[in-house]
C-alpha cells in the first residue's frame, strides 16, 4: 500500500510523469505562441535543456536576507504542487481517490502562492517586493472566484467534495458543462486558471518589462529550476482539474474515448495559450476590479443556478 502511494507520488502521475509531461506542454505553449507570432519556436527538448542546465548551476544567495525562507520557499511550493498533481492525476487516470478532496487541493494551491510571496519578500529586493505585493493582491482577488467555480460541481454532484464522486455523478447524469451553471463556471474557471498560472493578462507579479520577472528576480540555479518545474507541473494538473470537474474526465474504455479525453485537455491548454497571446498585461487594480466586479459575481450566479439545479 505504502509502495503504491510512493509510486503514485514519484512516478505516475506524480513527479516523473508530471515533470516530463509538463515540460512537453510547456513546449506546446512556446511553440503555439511562436506560431501565433510568426516565429519558428524552440526545439522539442528546449525546456528539458533549460531545466537540466538550471539544475546544475550555482545558487546565488542574497546578502543580509533570511536564507532559510529563501531556500525553503521553492521546496514547499514544489511539494505542494507535486501533491496536488498526484491527487488530480490519480483521479484523472485511475478514477481513484487517495485521500485528498477539493478543499485540500484549494488549500495546497494557496500554499504555492504563499510560498512564492514569502520567497520573494525574503530577498529584500525592491522589484521582488513589488512583485510579492502584486502576487498577494492577485491571490486575494482570484481565490474567491476560483472557490466559487469549484463549488458548482460540488453542489451539482450532491454536495460531494471528492473528485471521484464528481466523476461518478457525471458518468450517471451527463457532464456538468452541459448545464447553464456549469458553462458559466467553466468560463470563469479558465480565467482563474490564467491568473493561477500567471499567464497574460495576469502575469502582473512577473511583468518582465516592468519589474524584471518580479517575484523570481533573485532566484537562480537549482532553486529557480524548482520554480520553473512547479510552473510546468501546473500546466498538467490545472487543465486536468477542469476536465474532471466539468467535462467528465477521461475514459479508457476505447481508443476513441481516450482521444476525446486528450482532446478535451488540449483544448483547454490551447485556449489558455490563445488568451495569453491575444491580451496585454493588465494593471493590478484592473485585475482586482475585474475579479471582484465581474468574475466573482458571475461565479456566484453559477452557484445560485446550481443550487436551483439548472
Amino acid at each position: 500500500m505504502f509502495l503504491k502511494y510512493l509510486f503514485y507520488l514519484l512516478i505516475f502521475p506524480g513527479f516523473l510523469f508530471a515533470s516530463v509531461f509538463g515540460m512537453i506542454v510547456g513546449w506546446v505553449d512556446r511553440k503555439v505562441s511562436a506560431r501565433v507570432q510568426f516565429r519558428v519556436g524552440p526545439p522539442f527538448f528546449q525546456n528539458f535543456y533549460d531545466i537540466f542546465k538550471l539544475w546544475g548551476k550555482e545558487v546565488i544567495l542574497v546578502k543580509n536576507s533570511p536564507y532559510f525562507i529563501f531556500l525553503i520557499a521553492p521546496i514547499i511550493a514544489f511539494a505542494s504542487v507535486l501533491i496536488t498533481s498526484t491527487l488530480v492525476g490519480t483521479a484523472f487516470f485511475f478514477n481513484l481517490s487517495i485521500g485528498g478532496d477539493l478543499i485540500f487541493i484549494i488549500y495546497l494551491m494557496m500554499i504555492y502562492s504563499v510560498a512564492l510571496i514569502l520567497g520573494a519578500s525574503s530577498t529584500g529586493n525592491i522589484y521582488s517586493s513589488i512583485g510579492a505585493g502584486r502576487e498577494m493582491k492577485l491571490l486575494l482577488s482570484d481565490e474567491l472566484a476560483f472557490i466559487l467555480v469549484i463549488l458548482v460541481p460540488i453542489i451539482q454532484a450532491g454536495y460531494k467534495i471528492d473528485l471521484t464522486q464528481i466523476l461518478i455523478y457525471q458518468q450517471a447524469n451527463g457532464m456538468i458543462i452541459g448545464s447553464a451553471s456549469g458553462i458559466i463556471a467553466f468560463i470563469v474557471g479558465i480565467i482563474c486558471l490564467q491568473a493561477k498560472m500567471a499567464m497574460q493578462p495576469f502575469d502582473i507579479a512577473h511583468a518582465e518589462t516592468e519589474i524584471i520577472d518580479g517575484v523570481l528576480i533573485e532566484y537562480s540555479g537549482t532553486l529557480l529550476a524548482f520554480w520553473k518545474l512547479s510552473h510546468f507541473i501546473m500546466y498538467v494538473f490545472l487543465p486536468m482539474l477542469l476536465v474532471i470537474l466539468f467535462w467528465g474526465g477521461i475514459s479508457f474504455a476505447s481508443v476513441g474515448s481516450i482521444i476525446a479525453g486528450v482532446l478535451k485537455y488540449l483544448l483547454i491548454v490551447v485556449l489558455m495559450i490563445l488568451i495569453k497571446n491575444t491580451n496585454p498585461r493588465i494593471r493590478i487594480d484592473t485585475a482586482i476590479s475585474f475579479f471582484w466586479k465581474y468574475a466573482s459575481p458571475l461565479a456566484l450566479v453559477a452557484v445560485i443556478l446550481a443550487i436551483f439545479g439548472v
Binding site: F38, G124, D203, T209, E210, R283
Partner: protein, 409 residues
C-alpha cells in the same frame, strides 16, 4: 504609506539603452521621478570637427540607428543654409521618399516596443512583420536596410530607379490596410484600451512648457511639424499634420499610426512625381564659405536641430546637434507623477525616447575650467558609485540586495 525608490536603470529591460530613472513610489503610485542622463559617451560633435563636411554627414548618420537619415538630413540642411545652396527638384523628392520610409519603420518599431512593454508580445511580433517589407524597400532603393548614406551637400548620392515603383505601391497599400486594422484593434479591444486610454496624460500647457515636439506634442494638441512649418525639401509634397487633443498614451499611438498612413500618402505623391521630374540629382558644391547655418528636420521622434559654423575650410568649426528626445524626456515630470507604476513605465516608453540621439559628451570640466577626468570609463564608474552611495543610506534595507555585489568590486 512609506515611500520607496525604484531604481529604473541604468540597465533595465524597459530601456534599450543606458539611462537612469529614480522613481519614488508610495505603494504602486509614482510620487516623483528623477532623470539622470549622461550614461553614454559619444563625442560625435567633437569628431565632426575633425572631419570634412561630406564625412560628417556619414558620421552623424551613426548618431542613431533608427532615425539614421534624420541627422544627415538636418546636417545637409545646415550646411546648405550657410551658402543658400539650392538642390535639384528630383533630389528633393528622393530625400522626402527616404525620410518617409524611415518614419514608417521607426513608428512601427515604436508600436513593437510599446506592445512589448505592456506585455503584448503578439502585437510586437506582428508589427515587426510589417516593418520588414519597409526595410527591404529601403534596401532596394538605397542599397542598405539602415544607414542609407543618401544625403549629400547639394542633393542626394544615388538616383531613384523608376522601375521600382510597381514594387513599392503594393507594400504601401498593405501597410495602410494593416495600420487601419491596428487602429481599429486598439479602439475595440477593451483590455488594450484599459492600458492605453487616459494613461500618462501630457496636457497641452505642459507640452508647451516643456517644449515637447514631434508626435509627443502633436498628441497633446500642439500643432507643430517642421515638415510643414519650415520645409527644406517637403515643399514639393502635400503634408497633412496629424493632431489629437488628449495627450495620453492612446493618442500617441493614434498619432503614430495615422502618421504611418500619411507617410504612405506622401511616398505615393513622390512616386507619382518621379515619372515626370527627371534631371540631375546633385548640384556640385566646390567649397563652403565662412558663416553659420542651421538645419531642422522633422525626425520620427520630433524636431532634430543641427548647427554648423564654417570658417571657409573644408571642415566644420563647430557642429552642434540637438535631438528631439532632449526636450521630450523631461516631460516625464509632468506625465508620470501621480499614476500607477505599471502605467508610468508605458508612459516612459510612449514618447519614444532615443537616448543615444540625446547624449554626447566628450570632456568634463570643473568650475575653474580644469579638466576633471580624462578617462570616461573611470568617470562613469565614479558616477555609479556616487549614485549608489546616495541611494543606500536612505533605504538601506531595501536597496542592499541590489547593489551589494557591485559595490564590493
Amino acid at each position: 504609506m512609506s515611500k520607496c525608490r525604484i531604481p529604473l536603470g541604468p540597465f533595465h529591460p524597459l530601456l534599450e539603452e543606458a539611462e537612469f530613472f529614480n522613481i519614488k513610489v508610495e505603494g504602486e503610485k509614482v510620487v516623483d521621478i528623477e532623470m539622470e542622463t549622461g550614461w553614454m559617451h559619444r563625442g560625435h560633435e567633437k569628431i565632426s570637427e575633425t572631419k570634412t563636411f561630406t564625412q560628417s554627414i556619414f558620421l552623424v548618420e551613426r548618431i542613431c540607428g533608427i532615425c539614421s537619415t534624420s541627422h544627415p538630413f538636418a546636417c545637409v540642411n545646415a550646411i546648405e543654409d550657410i551658402d543658400n545652396i539650392e538642390i535639384p527638384e528630383r533630389a528633393k523628392y528622393i530625400r522626402v521618399l527616404i525620410g518617409e520610409l524611415e518614419r514608417i519603420h521607426s513608428h512601427l518599431l515604436w508600436v513593437c516596443l510599446a506592445g512589448h512593454f505592456i506585455g503584448y508580445d503578439t502585437l510586437w511580433m506582428w508589427a515587426w512583420k510589417y516593418r520588414e517589407p519597409i526595410l527591404q524597400l529601403s534596401e532596394m532603393i538605397t542599397g542598405n536596410r539602415n544607414h542609407y548614406a543618401m544625403m549629400r551637400v547639394g542633393g542626394v548620392g544615388r538616383d531613384f530607379d523608376n522601375s521600382l515603383i510597381p514594387k513599392i505601391i503594393p507594400v504601401l497599400d498593405m501597410i495602410e490596410k494593416k495600420m487601419v486594422m491596428l487602429a481599429g484593434a486598439a479602439n475595440d479591444d477593451p483590455v488594450l484600451r484599459s492600458r492605453l486610454k487616459g494613461v500618462g496624460v501630457l496636457t497641452k500647457e505642459d507640452a508647451i512648457n516643456y517644449c515637447a515636439n514631434g508626435p509627443t506634442a502633436r498628441a497633446s494638441g500642439v500643432d507643430i511639424d517642421v515638415r510643414r512649418d519650415d520645409p527644406t525639401a517637403y515643399e514639393v509634397v502635400d503634408v497633412k499634420v496629424i493632431v489629437t487633443p488628449n495627450g495620453d498614451v492612446y493618442d500617441k499611438l493614434v498619432v503614430r499610426v495615422l502618421e504611418i498612413i500619411e507617410s504612405c500618402h506622401i511616398i505615393k505623391q513622390c512616386l507619382k512625381a518621379f515619372e515626370k521630374v527627371q534631371g540631375p540629382i546633385i548640384n556640385k558644391v566646390k567649397e563652403i564659405s565662412p558663416g553659420e547655418g542651421i538645419g531642422r528636420y522633422e525626425a520620427p521622434r520630433g524636431e532634430v536641430f543641427h548647427y554648423i559654423r564654417s570658417d571657409g575650410s573644408n571642415r566644420p568649426l563647430r557642429h552642434k546637434v540637438r535631438a528631439p528626445s532632449f526636450s521630450n524626456i523631461p516631460t516625464y515630470k509632468a506625465s508620470c507623477v501621480g499614476i500607477p507604476l505599471a502605467d508610468a513605465l508605458i508612459t516612459l516608453a510612449s514618447v519614444d525616447p532615443c537616448y543615444c540621439c540625446t547624449e554626447r559628451s566628450i570632456k568634463a570640466f570643473d568650475i575653474n575650467g580644469k579638466k576633471i577626468e580624462h578617462n570616461l570609463l573611470h568617470l562613469s564608474r565614479k558616477k555609479t558609485e556616487r549614485l549608489q552611495r546616495e541611494l543606500i543610506p536612505k533605504e538601506k534595507s531595501l536597496i542592499d540586495g541590489i547593489f551589494d555585489l557591485s559595490l564590493s568590486r
